[in-house]
Amino acid sequence: MSFGAEFHVASRYLIGTRRWTPVVTVTLISLLGLGLGVFALVVTLALLDGFQSGIRSQIEAHAAHAEIRPASGRRIEEPELLASLLQDELGEVEIVQVVRGTCLVSSDTDAVPASVVGRSDAVGVLVDRVVSRRLGVGAGDRLELISARQRLTPMGPLPVRIRADIARIVSPAPGAEEGTVSIPLDRAQRLLWGEAVIGGIELRDAGDPWTLGQRARKVVEAHGVAVEVADLEALHRPLLTALALEKTMIFVAVGLMLVVAALNLLCNVAMVAAEKRKDLAVMAGLGCTPQSLRRLFLVLGLTIGLVGSVMGAVLGSGLAFILDRTEALELPRGVFMVTAVPFSVDPATVGLVVATALGLSTAAAWLPARMVARREPADGLRCE
């Protein structure tokens, strides 16, 4: 049987000719079920992608895109030379020398441990919301940073401490649970080391943040510099892994709707096979091979799957796009980083949803198709 004949008969079964038949009804029900499943999955994943792309944007906007770290020990040798080399080789990238340590941060009333970062680009003292909330301080308040490093005084060894007036309260880095205080590099070096030590070099490239680490790694390897390069993925691995896992779990959970729709499709195609038993026997009598009858039902299932999933994908993507553009679903101000529920339609994700729906439709049509192909034509003629 040529593919044309299979498609011809299958299309007549699907859309009917002049009257409403039970086959058309079950076809519409299957289409609706599959379309709804795809629609729900596309909208849900667009919502998730919207929030996740917001988090990724925050990472790109506020965090380092790559970081050079000592291969061993806690200091980078000849940091100025390395920074100059990176600037020459990588072109327009921001380079910030940093030193890190943990201090006790105290206000007039309380004290909490926090991460202290000395940055070459810092002009004042920036405190993130985690520290400001814990200590109950704001811009203009004075803090004391107490290091674990000690210095010898007439009264014996005492921890090194500095006083700093808060210039600004900033958002914490995405995924950061420990509070951070950023201070100018020279003050941090005095506080943490007592000498001009550089513990790391942060790199930022707003144009292509996700490949910066790879490019920096090539430069240091080419020049034989003994340092480690952490790219954006490595710097935020726990958060990015959690986001990917969240997307996978949502896909699987909401994707169960597609499985239910596929089971409905299986029942409906089996119903068509039962109702058209006589037709199938006649077609077999006219020369249809068992394989071609099987193909006919696979065409039926695939057509329902294709139309249903494309319909669901188009409607779902369209709705997500409109909701994102119009910011129709507003969020309470001050609670979230965004003011409206964000949606982001990722063509690859939509493609994956459609491919899953098509795969399930084919699997659902396979069972009745196999059943049809195994019958002797006379069985269908005898049931008249």
């Binding site: 011809h8 008969v9 007549r12 009917g16 037709d279 006649v282 077999a284 034509p377 006379a378 008249e384």
Partner: protein
Amino acid sequence: MDSGVSEGGMMVRVEGLTKGFGSNVTRVEVIEDLDFEVSAGELVAVVGPSGVGKSTLLHLIGLLDRAERGRVVIDGIETDDLDGAARAGLRNRVIGFVFQHHNLLDELDALDNVALPLRIAGQGSRSARDRAVELLASVGLENRATHFPDQLSGGEQQRVSVARALAMRPKLLLADEPTGNLDRDNAERLFDLVTELHLKVGLTSIIVTHNEEMARRCDRIFRLAPRADSLKDVRTI
């Protein structure tokens, strides 16, 4: 697979054919150890009471069903060892069927119904439809091509069914009570059409019928009797 009449010009040879339905206590032997031959070009009627196995015999000869034992040779081809696809190919190329209840596909119009065997054989839509127009004209239904089965009378439906059976220019025509659902006039007209086409196309035809008058117009009559009534299932009169 070689084609062409062989075995002494026999189009159909059946030997020791056995077929039953059900199992254990519900088992009914419909056909048992049946021998049967039809020469090329013959017009043969198969008659017998209801339930004696006439349709089952036609299904076995037409490769629509498989016998439990025995041999079916069609146009010189041993069919017992053929797989489903080869049997389907033989049905498409060599055998034309006319069923009792016309069995046209309700979703296709008369033209598409007649063109269906040609499309199944892989012919393009246009050439299949051209041939279907020709066939509908040969059964006097050229003006009913775009009508659907439920828009045709019983006689017209059976004439479309005859046209469809002849679409692939088969060598063997099998008709299972083709006039069973028609009134006397329409039954006469259809039988005249079948016999006329049988001669014109040069077919070998086997027609199952209850109508003794029509059966007598055939070259031979095979009377299929219940096993209890005769030692041999098939008698030639």
